[in-house]
Symmetry: C3
Subunit: 142 residues, 3 copies
Amino acid sequence: MPHLVILYTANLDRDTNMTALCRALADTLLQLRDDDGQPVFPTGGTRVLAYPAPHYAVADDGTAGKAAGGDGDYAFVYLNLRMGAGRSDAIKQRAGNDLLTRAKAHFEPIFHKKHLGITLQVDEGAQAFDGKHSNLHPLFMK
Amino acid sequence: MPHLVILYTANLDRDTNMTALCRALADTLLQLRDDDGQPVFPTGGTRVLAYPAPHYAVADDGTAGKAAGGDGDYAFVYLNLRMGAGRSDAIKQRAGNDLLTRAKAHFEPIFHKKHLGITLQVDEGAQAFDGKHSNLHPLFMK
Amino acid sequence: MPHLVILYTANLDRDTNMTALCRALADTLLQLRDDDGQPVFPTGGTRVLAYPAPHYAVADDGTAGKAAGGDGDYAFVYLNLRMGAGRSDAIKQRAGNDLLTRAKAHFEPIFHKKHLGITLQVDEGAQAFDGKHSNLHPLFMK
């Protein structure tokens, strides 16, 4: 943890580099600090995955978008951060705000020429079982 | 919100049009009314995304399906609606029933020639953070 | 139910057969027994779906991995089992442990030559609506 999963309409792949967004948001998570100035998340446990949906439907059938001068092929990006339980509410708000700010900056160039919705939510995991196996963490524990 | 995410076995892409299903289910959500006759969900916030899984395993290894005259390549569709908290239980049941009824109608033509399971669940979000940025909503607020 | 959804970095498709992993984990679920020796999950309701993420960012930018002799293109596998509510905590732990053990065995051959993180979590569903339509269950109720 944390895991940030991004679900989005595949039409965005024409207009923007989603791998760059993944890297930018991973860096945002890694730069997050708690009230003592310590990193909130471990480097080796920070992951961002993005999935274009080949099939989608957003809002109406495109009528309103075309009437407003767009192409009616609306785009949508849903960012869901799942983090471990037990962190303060202030940290959760900071994580959400920082990620949303970074995502907005990424999409700014296309926000003015495309109808696009961005939603970011932070969930606290409540798993009944949590198991791990990794050779990544040791890389960052020197 | 609401977000309807559909996860399904990729073998269904041969037999049915999943983009059409997305549109049909988005329309089902938009047509939903509360007890006062008002729309339950905002047009600009209604999204359906569908993802074919290139790798999957369903039930047994196909033995039972072949014995029953099928090809043993079972299909599965999981529809998960996440909606904001605070709506009545009656609305949640109506949303679930209407979506399942529409999905069943969509798959009816292949239900008689293929082994197929459909599961639809409605979750109420309990997010710790919820942020949005959109130029879609203004299209529908005239 | 149960549904096991696997989200992973697409770089793993070069190194391992994810369809084989899906089948192996479905069999692990089907072999699970409760304290009375009865199957925990119904055959017709057991599903595993795996999704490679075409866009991803894991940990740092690859610097630490390269310094350790790797290629810096870290891999990550997130396995999430969602099961119906009401089963004992012991069953949940057993399901988690058995799945993680099987997944570790699958990735063992590449664990020694690639930087890779595996996380498995078991969630208990708390859905507000649960609907099904299937011709799979009857195949396994003889």
